[in-house]
Symmetry: C2
Subunit: 228 residues, 2 copies
């Protein structure tokens, strides 16, 4: 492809990096924060794990690229995807010069995805962020960045809605916060805060059938990103 020097009127042929998107997909499963990784089974990154990703195409925005690669590789659709940062270390991909725009997304577990296997990708699985396998490219760096963003973002937005089902108990909500922040929170203070913010409301239903007092069920007022 000829890249044109777009910033002048003379068309000079120049060379530039390729542009890719990687999607860091988080979920909570069995009281652990996990990310979705795909195992690479050939080439220089053989037996290393990577995020679902792919090259940006000309006729799509990066948001669309992120959505597309996630869907193509995992069948996952309709999730909140958010741009994180662009990574451009010279050696991040030893096979060639690729700049990657990282995105992150959150899904409610268990998510019914199907891996589309190829000769290049075979295995796909969720990994606890506390116990990650050997990562391809600079993906360890990207996951660290994504994890920090997630931790700070749950403090001033409602994004955890994506990690929860439609209805949930306050204890379940608190668990999500505790798992992400990796620390215990005070039950009374947590409930006071959550009910004072205008993010959730009672559905009137209760979680019954367990060997203790039934819990009130709540839902988010809006299932889209809200800042406090």
């Amino acid at each position: 492809m000829k890249l044109v020097n777009q910033r002048s009127t003379e068309l000079k042929v120049i060379y530039g990096p390729a542009l890719a998107v990687d999607a860091v997909l988080f979920t909570i499963d069995k009281d652990e924060l996990k990310i979705l990784l795909i195992k690479i089974n050939s080439g220089p990154y053989k037996n290393k794990w990577a995020f679902p990703g792919g090259l940006a195409q000309t006729k799509e925005t990066l948001d669309e690229t992120a959505k597309r690669v996630l869907f193509q590789k995992t069948n996952i659709d309709n999730v909140h995807l958010e741009q994180l940062y662009s990574f451009s270390d010279l050696k991040r991909d030893v096979r060639g010069r690729v700049v990657s725009v990282a995105y992150f997304a959150l899904v409610n577990n268990p998510y019914n995805f199907k891996i589309k296997t190829t000769s290049y990708y075979s295995e796909i699985s969720w990994w606890s962020v506390k116990n990650l396998p050997p990562m391809a490219f600079d993906h360890q760096k990207i996951v660290n960045y994504a994890f920090e963003r997630l931790k700070s973002k749950i403090e001033y937005t409602n994004i955890v809605y994506s990690l929860l089902p439609e209805e949930f108990t306050l204890t379940e909500l608190q668990n999500v916060y505790e798992i992400i922040l990796d620390k215990k929170l005070d039950k009374r203070n947590f409930r006071k805060k959550m009910t004072s913010l205008d993010l959730i409301k009672k559905t009137g239903n209760k979680r019954k059938g367990e060997v203790h007092r039934p819990a009130e069920l709540f839902c988010f007022n809006r299932r889209k990103l809200v800042f406090l």
Copy 2:
């Protein structure tokens, strides 16, 4: 240039967007927050104004690209440059498909830059963010984003150090905050807060020669980014 499908071992020739960097440079001048713009004098964006920017080269990181294009276009060097966001609207540059990674930077005014004029760029000047000229590309969108980032970042970091000389009075520091936030701050509360944070210290010198009580001069403990 042939772009290779970097995410597989088979080398497929694909086409992707070109990658550029744009730098939003802020300063404070005459009690106004200003940004540096260059006037385009030919092509579809003739008579519109744009940030210093340029295409990313293969053998440099985006941070290096940002530093380079800023230096090449303005001779400005050694400023704090920080990645903002990647902009990828399909129609952001009508001449072709270019994704731009925006950076922002802050300089202490007056900065002694020299524009390097070409047939494409001629005029360069500072514009108040409250009164911007017609902007090229999607640069109006980028400046809005950068401005929001700046406003929030001065609340939890020391970045304003780049907008101030080595030594400054607390009133001068407060002015910087008031101009960026576009609101008056309480003098006593501001000073209490600033002196309680461990960001600045007295130099022992005073600003003399003015028709009022001389002001204590302060400097930042560290002239690099610190989070609170």
